[in-house]
Symmetry: C2
Subunit: 196 residues, 2 copies
């Protein structure tokens, strides 16, 4: 839908769609540093599989990235997927997700550029609106990008993820969590055996 564009006169930062080779340019590390949500154990095969899955959606799911051309490093990213509805006379809505800017590249308006790239994509595919969910702290940033506060985001985690979600800040992985749960269960069994 969109051709590659450069976002500075010096062509320092290139805004474009995600490419398969971006895994070697720090794409997963960028996500991991921002979300601390277990992005550090994705193999090349898993990455390729997910990349191909998303590619098969064509313009209905696009991941944008900004590459620092000098260092060949991905310094910003965000995704948009197009929801097809029956309301609004079979209208379409763009959902922006997972917007990240590398801490070393803050203050260069790259967040605004990647959000603009995604919002433009949604507009060009015929969406009547584009939405996203953000923390209260990031509201001011998205207002600068032309967004307005509308509703409340509600979430329901899987029971297993209620634990891991709460431990995300402590950088506890799924494997560590599984081991902890097994230890707790074994302790409970031992206590039950000796007490009852």
């Amino acid at each position: 839908m969109q051709s590659n564009t450069t976002c500075s006169d010096e062509e320092t930062y290139q805004v474009r769609k995600l490419e398969i080779t971006d895994k070697n340019k720090g794409f997963m590390e960028l996500l991991h540093d921002e979300f601390q949500k277990i992005c550090d154990s994705v193999s090349n095969d898993e990455f390729q599989k997910r990349f191909e899955e998303l590619k098969s959606y064509g313009d209905d799911h696009v991941i944008g990235v900004i590459e620092d051309v000098a260092s060949s490093k991905i310094v910003a990213t965000g995704s948009v997927f197009i929801e097809k509805k029956f309301v609004r006379n079979c209208g379409k809505v763009g959902h922006i997700e997972d917007v990240v800017v590398d801490s070393s590249a803050r203050g260069l308006q790259l967040g605004k550029k990647v959000v603009g790239f995604l919002a433009d994509h949604a507009r060009l595919t015929g969406c009547y609106k584009v939405i996203l969910d953000c923390s209260a702290d990031n509201k001011a940033f998205y207002e600068k990008c032309g967004f307005k506060e509308k509703e409340v985001q509600m979430v329901k985690f899987k029971l297993y993820d209620i634990f891991s979600h709460n431990f995300v800040g402590l950088k506890i992985t799924h494997v560590q969590l599984q081991i902890s749960l097994i230890i707790i269960l074994l302790n409970a069994l031992i206590i039950t055996r000796f007490v009852i």
Copy 2:
């Protein structure tokens, strides 16, 4: 993914996926009554096209409905689509949208049933969480469904839709809006011609 289920002993209300014949069972009128967002001019061909598009996504986009078996009328609906991410080790998130219960069927827990149907679908397809956006007024309802408030939803409309969105409460259609804009433009032209 899910088989049809009944949600009362008397099999009065059937919870299931949307079928092509549901257009003749009041599905579009239900959406229109709730959202007042121009759902009243979708032809059979347009409905079929969108239905087939969504069907091609398989389990990645499901519309749930509740049919009042006695009257063959769709009295509740909601949709869920599955977003495939790179974060959370290539995790998946379910997005619930467009939940509606017919005003004549309120108080029967049908909203909770349709949300449960969609959340179960997300869980069964491997989503680590399911999210939705709602008005502050509907927060209490979703809390009863097991959801918790998390973030802020931000929205950006297309310029054209900024107008129509603001007029939605007045039940002004796109055609009426276009006529109004043409009249305003003509008036502006006449004023310009006589004043300047």
